[in-house]
Amino acid sequence: MKSTISNTLQKLSRRNEPYVFLVLMLLCVLIEIRSGQFFSSNNLVDIASAFAVPGLFAIGAFMVIISGGIDVSFPALASLSVYATTKFLLDVNYQGGVWLAILIALALGAILGAFNGLFIGYFRLPALIVTLGSSSVFKGIMQGALNSKQLTVIPIGMKNFGTSSLFIAKNPVSGLTSRMPVAILAFLIVLFLVYFLMRYTMFGRGLYGIGGSEISAHRAGFGVRNTKFIMYVMVGMIASLAGVMRVCMMQQAHPTNMLGMEMNIIAGVVLGGTAITGGRGTLLGCMLGTLLIVIVENSLILIGVPTSWKSVFTGLLIIIGTGVSAYQVSRMNRVRSVETVAKEVV
């Protein structure tokens, strides 16, 4: 019994999640000490609400990275599909609920994701090149074909969805209130679905397999091309959903202000222990890593770090975080070689 506990501990110590969790807790305590506000109910709600959109993006980025790919186009993809959706609904003067916006955006996201999937899955072009290119194409369509500009009025259904809340947290001391947006449900649903997909379907295990060894996956009988293609379609849909949530919550559709998010999102995923080379990582770690980034981005004023130091702070966190996981990997290798030698002596 004792040995199983120490075994479990040993296994845990080789994983990344506990470390990220530890860093996260330390950061939270630091913010609490500096501001006395971190663990207040309304601040926690604020963080959950700021996390919903990056969280959705991170789930998509996680799937892609697990499969051994990389996607830098999701902000552009999300921007394009949600912008097109919003504009269309405004043009037809749609007065109904948010569901139609979600459906249209999901459909557009699937089409745009299929564009990535076609080139990466079927034509086997490198994912980074393809998504850099598609990112430009998506931006170009927005600028050129849609002649995009900020839409400060959004359809009433989207507006209502964005301002509706599950509950409102009130800070008893300061009296400040924060809304828990309904959008958080979209995030939770996707999180659950993707967790199930990655853990309990051959498709999800196939993504891990492809990320580990594409040749082995092919030989084992996974449909590598189809799997990749479908994954990029899914990721396109998740990103578009994130786009809709963002526009609803912001009450305006800005064509470019999601652009540039990809770096911090990918950093968060890697920070959470997902190997950038693919095949290794858990959704839990990915969420912790992303949460860490979101908290840092949204708490520097609370800590008292001047905003001009924000990027330095985030950058340092990424370097330290990824450094810890790199150290973990090298430590694991050392343990492995010792074990290997031990086995051969026996």
């Binding site: 397999g209 580990g212 996974f222």
Partner: protein, 494 residues
């Protein structure tokens, strides 16, 4: 005689103008252990891929259990009971043993949803078949090569397997692991499973297989019973060349040792190692993988410096604390894994040769003298007979034997006194192996002092004047090669 399990008849296959297989026929019976041998580029892999349905032949046909196929798909092959274990074992290093074992059958059953309980049962059953004990939740990447191979074998046996094709299965295994593998192969044979064993290692062919087939340049050169084969014939079939075994006789041995180790040791690797090395001598150091032989080699070259004893070069004590010091004292080291340690595979052959002497090729103001550079390169390509149309080609275009020659050239260009070679012919085909041995003997005759670390016993017996046997970190025997044999050495090693 029982009905043949598989027959491939008059197979032709070519790729963009290159004839990979010319009228090759091949036959294997149930429970037969068959060795398919041939040098690099002889068409072995192509034949395997034709049999397993990856390639379809240009002409010729195949028969499985008497049923004739003009063309088969990989799925046909699997359904006919053929399983291929590739050199990389087709594993997922990032996933658990359980998943690695269960994926194939889950996919074959077209399952969509993962049932972890069922997967565990599949995996447990699979490893039980060959009595293989392993933690099903371990990450496959953390296992030894032999364990990965066992996983591949267990997985191959999950289907109604009649023939297992193993591509160079012993390449990265230790002696003990090879023995274990052979035991398993024999057990499979008892169950009527045929094994097609692809190898170019002579001793393995004799030890395990009953039948052999040798290909050369895409043609069948010999097939038959292993009992009728001897090592001369084998070498001839493989290469088309006649080799005379040339046992090394030291000629110009210097009186004074050029290199002396006095009671050297390194914590938890080896201890109290002493020996003298003279010019013109070749000393062999052998032992099992854990005997400390590799660590000793690394220490002598300063990669992992010693912490006990003294090293003398030309009678003077030298502290070899890093490879630069070793090189200053004209000591060179050819590593075991030339692919990762000794060569820049993507760089040109020429650059690889001159890399270590690059400083001496520069003129006074530090600019590379291109004329001298090309002279050097030409000289070594010629002297070591590196077969390449153009030394500017990338090193990875060469065969294993030729790559090893490039590593040699790189060191010889430095005018060394002492050369340490770790596993000089690992993964090298017979012809090249023979040539490399010739080069080493010639170098010794020219006055170089050589130290060969190898567990290939015929190699050390043939090429060394003295053999030091290591066990658990110390030298347990110092043998005269001419008066020794494999049995004696093995008795000290084990």
């Amino acid at each position: 005689m029982a009905e043949g399990l598989l027959r491939a008849v008059d197979i032709y296959k070519s790729f963009v103008g290159v004839q990979a297989l010319k009228k090759v026929s091949f036959e294997i019976n149930p429970g037969e252990i068959h060795c398919l041998a041939g040098e690099n580029g002889s068409g072995k892999s192509t034949l395997i891929k034709v049999i397993s349905g990856v390639y379809s032949p240009d002409s010729g046909y195949m028969e499985f259990g008497g049923k004739r196929y003009e063309k088969i798909t990989p799925i046909d092959a699997i359904q006919s009971g053929i399983q291929v274990i590739y050199q990389d074992f087709s594993i997922f290093p990032n996933l658990t043993v359980m998943e690695n074992l269960a994926f194939n059958s889950e996919l074959a059953d077209r399952r969509k949803i993962v049932n972890w309980k069922r997967m565990r049962k599949i995996a447990t059953d699979a490893i039980a078949k060959i009595n293989f004990k392993v933690d099903l939740d371990a990450m496959v990447g953390t296992l030894t090569v032999a364990e990965k191979q066992m996983i591949a074998i267990s997985r191959a046996l999950m289907f109604n397997t009649k023939l297992i094709i193993m591509d160079e299965p012993t390449t990265a295994l230790t002696k003990r692991e090879v023995r274990n593998l052979f035991n398993i192969i024999l057990k499979l044979k008892e169950r009527g499973i045929a094994i097609l064993f692809v190898s170019h290692k002579l001793n393995e062919v004799f030890e395990i297989s009953e039948k052999f087939t040798i290909l050369r340049s895409g043609e069948l050169v010999a097939t038959g019973s292993t009992a009728d084969l001897d090592s001369e014939k084998f070498s001839f079939f493989m290469t088309g060349r006649e080799f005379q075994k040339k046992t090394f006789v030291p000629l110009n041995v210097s009186k004074e040792p050029i290199f002396q180790a006095k009671g050297i040791g390194m914590k938890s690797a080896f201890h109290d190692v002493s020996f003298d090395l003279r010019r013109g001598e070749i000393i062999g150091i052998t032992g099992l993988l854990d005997s400390g032989r590799t660590e000793l080699a690394l220490s002598l070259f300063g990669i992992r410096p010693i912490d006990h004893g003294a090293v003398l070069v030309n009678g003077e004590e030298v502290k070899i604390i890093n490879p630069q010091v070793a090189m200053q004292h004209k000591i060179g080291y050819v590593p075991e894994d030339r692919l990762s340690e000794g060569l820049f595979l993507t760089q040109s052959i020429a650059d690889n040769i001159v890399i270590s002497e690059i400083d001496s090729l520069a003129n006074k103001i530090g600019i590379l003298d291109h004329k001298r550079r090309s002279e050097e390169i030409e000289r070594w390509v010629r002297e070591l007979a590196i077969s390449t149309p153009n030394p500017d080609n990338a090193c990875q275009t060469l065969s294993g034997g030729n790559q090893q020659r490039v590593v040699l050239a790189k060191w010889l260009a430095l005018n060394l006194d002492i050369l340490i070679l770790n596993g000089p012919t690992v993964g090298v085909d017979i012809g090249s192996k023979h040539d490399i041995h010739g080069i080493l003997q010639k170098l010794a005759e020219e006055g170089l002092a050589l130290l060969i670390i190898s567990d290939d016993l015929p190699e050390v017996l043939e090429n060394c004047s003295r053999i030091l046997v290591m066990k658990s970190g110390s030298i347990v025997a110092d043998l005269d090669a001419a008066k020794s044999d494999e049995k004696t050495i093995l008795s000290y090693m084990m």
